[in-house]
Symmetry: C2
Subunit: 199 residues, 2 copies
Amino acid sequence: MDDDPATEILEATYRSLCRRGYADLTVEDIAAEADRSKALVHYYYDSKENLFTEFLEYLYERYTAHLASVAGETPRERLFSLFEAVLADEAATPGEEFRTAMLEVKAQAPYDEAIQANLARFDEYLFERLREIIAAGVESGDFRERVDPATAAEFLATTITGAQTRRVAVGYPTDRLYETMTRYADTHLLVAAAAEGSN
Amino acid sequence: MDDDPATEILEATYRSLCRRGYADLTVEDIAAEADRSKALVHYYYDSKENLFTEFLEYLYERYTAHLASVAGETPRERLFSLFEAVLADEAATPGEEFRTAMLEVKAQAPYDEAIQANLARFDEYLFERLREIIAAGVESGDFRERVDPATAAEFLATTITGAQTRRVAVGYPTDRLYETMTRYADTHLLVAAAAEGSN
């Protein structure tokens, strides 16, 4: 790896988090995972809290780069690519252990303002990405004129969050949730499908 | 209290869980909270795992009784009462600390089959309650004929789960999510609103 030590430590934090979960995460483990001394970790990050805040920042950069890259010819295709990116793209999105650890981090948020502020940024980014794709679809005439982009984006952001929680909590199959989301969009947002009037 | 000791211990588990979270929950704390000896707790529940499984069973009874009691003249009113019961009814639903602890329990589910099986029962009950209300609405002609109750119920169960997660993780206001849900139902499920063709 050509990464600098600071980035290597963040990558090691990722692996430690997957292995041990958030509650048991320690600077010692992260240092061992990075094959560095605990003193070196503290040289770059003065506390576990500071390291974890920087780690969430590092995740946020990866998350936004990933969601910004979703492509498609039409607003419908871009919306479905976004659903796939957050729900069904197993190769690109993090695995089971990481998703589980992130749900654990969400449960810590009420007790840690820095974590909650960071999670709010992920939440707002997803909402904004959905809103802009839907607004473009209404603008282009692909989506129904009466669709309010902010309302639809808020609804979909909430459903995506629920799909991620159900996947961890009850092992609900991701593919099925992806299908449910695309069916919603085809039935309720798209002009052509609207005429069919399904749920 | 006229409760038997076994039930008192479950009530003490509830209070301990709210106070300490799942990760730090111990039989010692629960015994202290119940003002009983640890030996007595072990007399009724032979392990922490067994106690917690029984606790989830006790919660499930309360949850199903609460959701079964939602009433209304029309399917629309019953659906909105259900949304309120799971999202907005602060007096009847558990508070912030309990919601946070339950999200923590969800993040434990992949590591504990008994917990995951229990959470799946809550998940299935919510789905089934939604499905039966929507099916009654389609049957009565209040909801659109082409609405598939199972698909709509799955979508709404996922959105409700997401609303609960966002409330804990990013402090998203419950009332706003309740409004989003009712607007969805009025726009997409109800016969009268369908003609207006909003999102």
